[in-house]
């Protein structure tokens, strides 16, 4: 099912015309209404009038999360507060939070976009949707809530926590679609198993996951343990929240709602725009937002874009599942290494746990990478020969997939588990 054929199945030419029109009007508005952008454009001597095609967007400056923090709370709003009907905010774990506002039109678009994502994930008006994101300042719950209501589904605004009650409601209210983080879905599965509840006895058939990365093995595990169809969706709270992109039934990437956002992929080091297909940091420009437009916002999320046509009929570009953040990137002999890549390799190798530590160093001017990997109990007490085979396999996969040679060291179970006071995932000794 496709929610909005008119906009989700446009010809590439049509999409680009719409993007150009909306980009020009967005730039005209931010230049006029947002002093941050006016100053920045004037300083770089780049005016909205210079946008001849979408490619010219690359000449404009990037917007960083720090910029939003410095303009806390309302500095980057493009309209006065009396035209804003909703305010959301990010967590502010590291420093001041960021504040975003929505006009009535913004909320209308937001509902439309999350309705698209939910429909692509299989939700229809016949579904009972249980939302287990936190209702409050965060964007996740409200965004998907509006979309589900717009579709006509029955929405249960459960919010977070109280797993026993979540399961009880799932059983009694006959929930058919679960909106949650993928790790919470696994937690629910585990909880049911421990309580002797057979997940097959539930009415659940769909899972719509967001808020954190959901690597392929994790999806498989969820789909097997809670027999459901699991799709991934993606959002950035500063940009809008959920509704930026979502997977369709093909599960081959997340369709970005290009009539509302222009995606670019940049090299997080050089900041240059990369060609389609290259892996790099996702940068988003909003095209329809009235209260809080953003130009070239650095998401810090690592992905790549695929413009080939999807069999589902949507013509919107697909982004690969986000598995890493550009903040975690380390460069070994010029090759970008994302911890997430290492993690997904480890998840596919029998005998090791996805707990690891990357140690970069420089020996006589040459970059080196050491990867410490936890093995599980069974392998740990096995023959040395087997351990060597596993280490060699990890090394080979790293060379094949990531493109770097690394020294692999297997370590005892439970020695590298992430968490407070535990070993950091990345140590870069070259910085000293």
């Amino acid at each position: 099912m496709i929610w909005d054929r008119r906009y989700e199945c446009m010809e590439r030419e049509e999409i680009e015309q719409l993007q150009l029109e909306r980009l020009q009007s967005t730039l005209n508005r931010v230049y006029r209404n947002v002093s941050f952008y006016k100053k920045k454009f004037d300083h770089l001597k780049i005016l909205p009038d210079e946008i001849q095609s979408i490619k010219d967007l690359a000449k404009f400056p990037l917007t960083l999360k720090e910029d939003l923090r410095e303009s806390y709370p309302y500095g980057m709003f493009a309209l006065p507060l009396r035209e804003v009907v909703r305010i959301h905010s990010s967590s502010g774990v590291t420093g001041k939070p960021t504040v975003t506002g929505y006009t009535r039109n913004d909320l209308h678009h937001w509902s439309q976009l999350t309705a698209r994502v939910l429909t692509a994930g299989g939700v229809t008006k016949d579904d009972v949707v249980q939302i287990t994101f936190k209702y409050g300042l965060f964007t996740g719950a409200f965004g998907l809530h509006h979309g589900a209501e717009l579709i006509g589904a029955s929405v249960i605004p459960m919010s977070t926590g109280n797993t026993s009650k979540q399961v009880l409601i799932m059983q009694d209210y006959k929930t058919t679609a679960l909106v949650s983080t993928p790790s919470y879905a696994l937690l629910l599965a585990r909880h049911m198993e421990s309580q002797g509840i057979d997940p097959k006895s539930l009415s659940l058939k769909l899972g719509l996951f967001g808020g954190e990365p959901c690597p392929e093995p994790m999806r498989k595990e969820i789909e097997e343990r809670l027999p459901i169809r699991a799709t991934d969706n993606y959002g950035v709270s500063e940009v809008m929240g959920p509704g930026v992109s979502g997977e369709c039934e093909q599960k081959n990437g997340l369709h970005i709602n290009e009539d509302h956002f222009i995606p670019e992929i940049i090299d997080p080091q050089t900041l240059q725009v990369l060609s389609p297909g290259s892996e790099g940091e996702l940068v988003l420009t909003t095209l329809s937002k009235e209260a809080f437009p953003l130009i070239r916002y650095r998401t810090r999320d690592i992905t790549s874009l695929d413009y080939s046509l999807c069999p589902c009929g949507r013509t919107l570009v697909r982004m690969k599942k986000v598995l890493g953040r550009s903040d975690d990137i380390i460069i070994i002999k010029g090759v970008n290494v994302f911890p997430s890549q290492v993690e997904s390799i480890l998840m596919e190798i029998e005998g090791v746990e996805p707990h690891y530590q990357l140690i970069a160093d420089r020996v006589e001017g040459v970059d080196t990478l050491e990867v410490k990997v936890e093995v599980n109990e069974r392998v740990f007490s096995d023959e040395i020969k087997n351990l060597q085979t596993i280490a060699a396999k990890v090394g080979r996969k790293l060379r094949e997939i990531v493109g770097v040679s690394a020294t692999v060291k297997l370590v005892a179970p439970q020695s590298l588990q992430p968490g407070e006071g535990k070993a950091p995932k990345v140590i870069d000794r070259r910085k000293k």
Binding site: Q17, E21, Q24, I51, Q52, S53, L79, E290
Partner: protein, 244 residues
């Protein structure tokens, strides 16, 4: 049907359009709203080939029409009803209308043209009554009907309507807008320029707001009507909202 890509245009040293991009889909009514001097009529003239674009590209039905002559563009199917009507005052209504068919008379022949004349009379019955009258003696509303009818005689696929409500009494404006809707239901695609934003947004599917030669807003009409800036600047809602 029509794509305007980053078009700029000048009058001498004065830049009237700055990187304007718009599109009109087949079968829809799109509207371009803006104050006096914002560049609305210039954009219409650039589309119909009366004023040359300095930069940018115009594509009509898949054909690049930038730089083509006004005659060629008319023959391709773009009809322009100019601002202020510009009818031939000393000529009769029927002569005004027949002149509109000039570009296709030879090709289509007398019979076809006579048939189309009847469809114009069906759209504006008052013109049939006054067909022998000199156009200059008609009321403002009737003159506007002559101007629209004359352009329709060229059988345009895309009709550019520049301020059809200008200087008309509210009731007559209603008649003109009813005719615009009839035209759309007959399959004509319309780009409508208006200062009467309320009337335009009532009939249009999508709209653009132009200010000092730049497009500052694009959207479906429901969205534009929801936008406070549009309400304030074009629908005159502000005072009531603040003081009531």
């Amino acid at each position: 049907m029509l794509r305007v890509e980053s078009v700029s245009a000048f009058y001498g040293g004065i830049q009237a359009l700055r990187n304007v991009s718009i599109h009109v889909n087949a079968g829809e009514i799109a509207t371009l709203l803006g104050a006096n001097g914002a560049g609305k009529s210039t954009l219409m003239k650039v589309i119909s080939g009366i004023h040359p674009p300095a930069k940018g590209r115009l594509v009509f039905s898949g054909l690049n029409i930038s730089g083509l002559s006004a005659e060629r563009i008319l023959r391709l199917g773009v009809g322009h009803v100019p601002e202020g009507r510009q009818i031939f005052a000393p000529l009769s209504v029927i002569d005004n209308l027949t002149l509109g068919a000039y570009a296709r008379f030879k090709m289509d022949g007398k019979k076809e043209v006579a048939k189309d004349l009847q469809s114009i009379f069906a759209l504006f019955p008052v013109l049939q009554e006054r067909q022998k009258q000199r156009a200059g003696t008609l009321s403002g509303g009737e003159q506007q009907m002559v101007a629209i009818g004359r352009t329709l005689m060229a059988k345009p696929k895309l009709l550019l309507l520049d301020e059809p409500s200008m200087g008309l009494a509210p009731m007559v404006v209603g008649d003109i807008f009813k005719a615009i809707q009839t035209l759309r239901s007959r399959g004509t695609t319309i780009l409508l320029v208006e200062q009467n934003a309320k009337a335009a947004l009532k009939v249009a599917d999508r709209g653009y707001i132009i200010e000092t030669g730049r497009i500052i807003l694009e959207g479906e009409t429901a969205e534009l009507l929801n936008n406070k800036e549009v309400q304030r600047a074009y629908l005159g809602k502000e005072y009531r909202e603040i003081w009531d």
